[in-house]
Amino acid sequence: MTDFRARVFGYHRKAHEDEDLQTVLEKIPIFQDLSKRELAAVVRVLHRREYVPDELIIRQDEPGLGMYIIQKGKAVVVTEPDNIQLSELSDGDFFGEVSLLDETPRSASVIARSHCTIFGFFQSDLFSLIERDPRFGVKIVVRVAKIIGDRLRKANQQMQALTEDLQRARGSQTRADRP
């Protein structure tokens, strides 16, 4: 009976896919504090999407609703309107995680470069998880907050380095201008 049901409804394939996806999720910092059971709960709320090469995944300036995880395929991050490529993403990479907490417009577009299987995890799903199991939801929120904190720290360091570079450049310019 189980074999028949598995053949008809594809249970084995689904379970296998879920395990693969859990392995991908375990490597993503946001989900690293979660237990197997909690990861399985996240897998249940994810939205699976398939993209063909050159298809737009997210568009710059549109509302950011949540994050995407690339299970398989390649994509590029580009800025509009000058179409500058910022980075390339592949299997296991993720983007848009800040949108889990903040619905500000997307800062860049992401376009598929090959056939991509991507999973979306959205703010509404996170809020729903928090409502159902606050302790579990808070683990994800804390991780997102840590990532944002890290980025802020790195941005501050970069800004400090750039300011020092600018001051040095101004100093050398002043010295060069002296008669």
Partner: protein, 346 residues
């Protein structure tokens, strides 16, 4: 951010959808009613199931527990109230011909004939009108309780069955629907569904709590005033309060008529009117601001048109469902246009 574009055809889309749904409802009638009622009740009960789920109860079991509790409560209330309602309706049909009541009717009739003859009330037969009202209200209640019992039994079975699946698998159903949307419109659809879910959920739960509160307060007020059939009349007033503008009056009039027939004096009717006016003030200024979401405010004309269409299609039940359904389309229209403007579909 791109500037908002004006797209008249798209702006009209939700109205067209509403029109198509209305036509479909007209044809599928009863089945649509059962689905709509199940959906509305599932929506109202969803936070209770989610609250149990957050305490570690699996969703399926939580749904079952909530439905069992609700079913038991309704069964107990039905066992206690149905005989009382049948008794009260029978009494209403046969018991209003006391001498005091007849005298009161005669006095009111005389007064109306003299003062409002210019409106064509010179030959008004109030006694016959009241007899007609008593007969029809009794017939309607018996029709609902006895004649339509098969339909009632089918609804009693199908509504909880549908509610169970809407509550347990609602999220999966939504996910399946979203999975069918093309990639480009996927985030837009998700965004729209989430906003609609929040607004509609608050609105429907607010309406339910408001009707329940108004019904209980009406029963207490009528009991204090010593009006007969207070349970039936109070419950009716609570339900009628779901219909804006005309509902509170429709709920008050039968209570005032019964009060006059009981006591034979207009004073008791005035007391009922004052009691309902106070209840309405409490409802408007205390209960509604606390429980009803203000985000689904609708223009009075829209509300009245919705009530008329609902009444025309499905009778009293249609009138009751008209406002939540109109609220649903209002939210779809408002959020649909607002959300669409944030995206750059071209």
């Amino acid at each position: 951010m791109m500037p908002a574009k004006s797209r008249p055809i798209w702006d009209l889309a939700p109205m067209l959808i509403a029109f198509v749904v209305a036509i479909i409802l007209l044809f599928v009638g009863k089945a649509a009613q059962v689905v709509i009622i199940s959906l509305l009740l599932a929506y109202i009960l969803d936070p209770v199931v989610t609250a149990l789920e957050s305490r570690g109860v699996p969703r399926g079991l939580a749904t079952l527990l909530v439905l069992l509790f609700l079913g038991t409560t309704i069964a107990v209330l039905a066992i206690l109230l149905v005989p009382v309602i049948i008794h009260q309706v029978r009494a209403l049909q046969s018991g209003a011909t006391t001498q005091v009541a007849a005298k009161a009717i005669e006095t009111i009739q005389q007064s109306l004939r003299e003062r409002l003859s210019f409106l064509g009330l010179g030959s008004l037969d109030l006694g016959a009108k009241i007899e007609e009202f008593k007969r029809t209200i009794g017939e309607k209640v018996f029709e609902f309780l006895v004649k339509d019992s098969l339909e009632l039994v089918i609804s009693v079975v199908t509504i909880p069955f549908m509610m169970f699946f809407f509550l347990k698998d609602g999220r999966d159903l939504k996910k399946r629907v979203v999975s069918m949307v093309p990639n480009r419109y996927f985030e837009f659809t998700l965004d729209l569904l989430y906003k609609m879910d929040v607004q509609l959920g608050n609105y429907l739960r607010g309406q339910f709590v408001d009707a329940l509160t108004f019904g209980v307060l009406s029963i207490i007020a009528l009991w204090i005033l010593g009006v007969n059939y207070f349970v039936f009349l109070g419950a009716f007033a609570g339900l009628a309060n779901l219909i804006p503008y005309v509902g509170p009056i429709a709920g008050m009039v039968p209570a005032a008529i019964v009060a006059v027939l009981n006591s034979g004096s207009l004073g008791s009717a005035v007391a009922v009117i004052i009691a309902f006016a106070i209840l309405k003030l409490v409802d408007d200024f205390v209960v509604q601001p606390l429980v009803v979401a203000s985000s689904v405010e609708m223009h009075p004309v829209l509300v009245l048109v919705a009530i008329m269409i609902g009444g025309e299609l499905f009778g009293i039940l249609g009138m009751l469902l008209a406002v939540p359904v109109a609220g649903f389309f209002k939210v779809v229209l408002k959020e649909g246009v607002n959300t669409y403007r944030k995206y750059r579909f071209s």
